[in-house]
Amino acid sequence: MSRQMPRHLISIDDLDREGIERILDRAESFAEVSGREIKKVPALRGRTIVNLFYEASTRTSSSFDLAAKRLSADVVSIRSVGSSVDKGESLKDTIHTLSAYDPAAIVIRSPHVGAAQLVAGWTSAAVINAGDGKHEHPTQALLDVFTLRRRLGRLDGTRIWIVGDVLHSRVARSNILAFTRMGAQVTVCGPPTLIPRGIEALGCEATPTIERLHEAEVVYVLRMQHERMHESFVPSLREYAARYQISTGRLSPGQLLMHPGPVNRGVELSADAIDSPQALIGEQVKAGVAVRMAVLYELLVGSPMLAAVAAG
């Protein structure tokens, strides 16, 4: 029997390989639900999920929304703009207010590292980190592993390159942890100014050029944010694209291409690469709902102990 799920999902470190696999297996069954005409199961009927987004997000917030609704939960979505959060209410006070609704789970995205962890200390709800600053984005990593596992069967021994702005990327951090936990070998590649000192401690290797990109079976490209240019992390987007842009010409046959979105066409990815059959970008998005359903389910009803509490 698989070990008990953690109470919260703050970091990929909360999950061992078995826990990741359990969520992915559950996601497989929910992916089947998503193929039905009526895409709904009653698992969380009568329970409340709060989605609290302090940062702009399209795919993460909409897929959490949809995931909760497909599990029949009542969903409250709060965005910082126009809410009391916008009026200077502290995170702690906001959480106390929302906790009055007795939510089963709070999904939080914040521009600040550690926000989800803090929230977990202030509420009795299960807390799911939907991105905290540059720290982690565990559900993105899970849906990426889900997508790859579907395609490859398993990740053991798979060589995965993560290319681009690793320094500012929470996706990179969660994915390095998740990929290596599943047995893959990870290399991060990008301009030296965008590779954090000490990143090797996460269990990956680092290289400043794409010369050896052909060694990779999977090329995972990160979003390059335009503002990094103004901060002089790269001298110009033109030079960045010339050195690091992944195009079909730079992809070897059989290599799989991934990107967490949203893509800057013509910067980190060429248009032909995005549209090539090697790209899994659409499958990643599709996996988002099923994987987030699985996370909600496993945290709220999947664990034997919590299921007992819910039944009692």
């Binding site: 995170l91 702690k92 600040h112 590292v113 600053g133 000192r197 000490g198 996460l202």
Partner: protein, 471 residues
């Protein structure tokens, strides 16, 4: 110019009349390391005698201190008392209560208050407040530049006449070498130490912790070690060129220790301090994202920590300074990046160093005791000594007593202590500062029957939860 002792200010308190019986006296400067009776009369050490040899003063009491240690009281050259303007974090009363509870007989307050202590009138009003409120003598550093802005010198000579012990822009570096050079030149007129918080803002950037494997893991912007050490090297060169007296505050990394050692070897009149948290903790604890571990300079690596300990042992680093930096709860109960920088330290300094460095065998007890008061001489203040005729500046410590930090609350108004919840050994029981009892732990109760002369027993705090430190 005023005498240095007149640059310390405190409220009036009665002179101590006290016999401390059979305490193990350890004063590395007077070579004392054995049990003694210490008789204090009119606030001075009147007599040192063999254990159980001296009679209690008629108008005072006798304390049985057998098994306890008496040290020269500590002097902290770096505290933030948050007055004026931020009394919700700390004030002169609570800050000096914390100092006394930690065994300190004098502290030096930093000028990054609101308003900044950059004007003789502000210093004058602070001196008046200290004379009403301070439980232990307090000295003040004024800022080097107006409003800590880095572009205009304060009226350093006037500030010195008004009682400033020296100058610092602590909390910020003096970024412009040209501006610092002018301050060092002006030191020839006004005296006083120029103390420096060393950091290159261009290298620190938006950093909130040490740059290394832990910051890479957490996605937090890092402050590289070279942000500090390059400025230490630059300013040591300026100190040498101007033959100025410069003190480097809260050194945090191995490279800075090397730069300080090189500057001393070259004959520069420089000194340095290190804090208990940098001497005992590393950036590994930041993995918890507990904002109590957010301070500037940041906790660094084990290599840096060891270099600081070795620097302290060898004397390259002259003294210990707590950088006691109280913050209100709402300033710390926020995500790490938004949290205020700093930890309190006065109440835990000795116990943290004793537990983590002496008990572990990294440092000798005598070294820690010596460095805990070595900051006094750096600022031209008299060094506490346990010797006949000296003003009573001593503390009594139970090295056996184990306690959990924060279990009885804090004397400080703030609770942001990086050692909170840790089990430490070495509890301060009594502090005499400037000849008066500044702190006495409540469990120090009278046991009139324990000795014919009516001695009070000093109970260790182990096991018992007493009341909070005296209010």
């Amino acid at each position: 110019m005023t005498l240095p002792t007149q640059r310390l200010f405190h409220r009036d308190r009665p002179d101590a009349e006290l016999l401390i019986r059979s305490a193990h006296v350890l004063d590395p400067r007077t070579d004392l390391d054995e049990p003694h009776d210490i008789l204090i009369r009119h606030g001075r050490i009147a007599e040192l005698g063999a254990p159980d040899s001296l009679p209690a003063p008629q108008d005072g009491e006798a304390l049985d201190a057998s098994g306890k240690h008496a040290f020269p009281a500590f002097v902290d050259p770096h505290v933030h008392l948050r007055t004026p303007g931020q009394e919700y974090k700390e004030d002169l009363d609570t800050g000096t209560a914390a100092a006394a509870a930690g065994g300190f007989c004098a502290v030096i307050a930093m000028p990054n208050t609101a308003p900044v202590l950059d004007d003789a009138a502000i210093l004058g009003s602070l001196v008046e407040r200290a004379r009403r409120e301070a439980r232990v003598p307090v000295g003040f550093l004024a800022s080097i530049t107006r409003n800590l802005a880095g572009d205009e010198l304060t009226e350093m000579a006037d500030l010195s006449d008004a009682g400033a012990l020296g100058f610092t822009d602590d909390g910020k570096p003096v970024v412009s070498a040209g501006m610092l050079r002018k301050a060092l030149q002006y030191q020839r007129l006004c005296g006083g130490v120029v103390s420096l918080h060393e950091e290159d803002p261009a290298l620190s950037g938006e950093g909130v912790m040490h740059e290394g494997a832990v910051s890479a893991r957490l996605g937090l912007a890092g402050i590289p070690s070279v942000s500090e050490s390059t400025m230490v090297a630059r300013d040591a060169a300026l100190a040498r060129y101007e033959d100025a007296r410069v003190h480097f505050q809260h050194l945090s990394c191995a490279e800075s220790v090397q730069a300080l050692a090189a500057a001393k070897a070259a004959g520069a009149r420089v000194s340095g301090e290190a804090s208990p948290h940098h001497l005992t903790l590393t950036d590994d604890v930041v993995r918890t994202l507990d904002s109590r571990f957010k301070m500037n300079p940041p906790l660094r690596t084990e290599i840096d920590r060891r270099a600081l300990v070795e620097g302290l042992r060898s004397g390259v680093i002259d003294c210990i300074a707590t950088d006691h930096a109280p913050h209100a709860r709402h300033e710390k109960e926020v995500p790490f990046e938004q949290a205020a920088m700093g930890t309190t330290g006065l109440e835990t300094a000795f116990a943290a160093l004793f537990t983590e460095l002496v008990m572990s065998g990294e440092l000798e007890l005598a070294t820690v005791v010596q460095r805990m008061s070595a900051g006094a001489a750096l600022y031209g203040l008299p060094t506490p000594r346990i010797a006949v005729g000296e003003i009573a500046n001593l503390c009594l410590v139970d090295l056996e007593a184990r306690f959990e930090v924060g279990e009885d609350g804090y004397a400080s108004r703030s609770t942001n202590c990086c050692f909170h919840g840790r089990a430490l050994h070495g509890r301060v029981l009594l502090t005499l500062a400037g000849g008066a009892v500044a702190f006495r732990r409540p469990m120090l109760v009278d046991h009139p029957t324990s000795r014919s002369s009516g001695a009070a027993a000093l109970h260790s705090t182990a096991g018992g939860r007493g009341r909070g430190p005296e209010a």
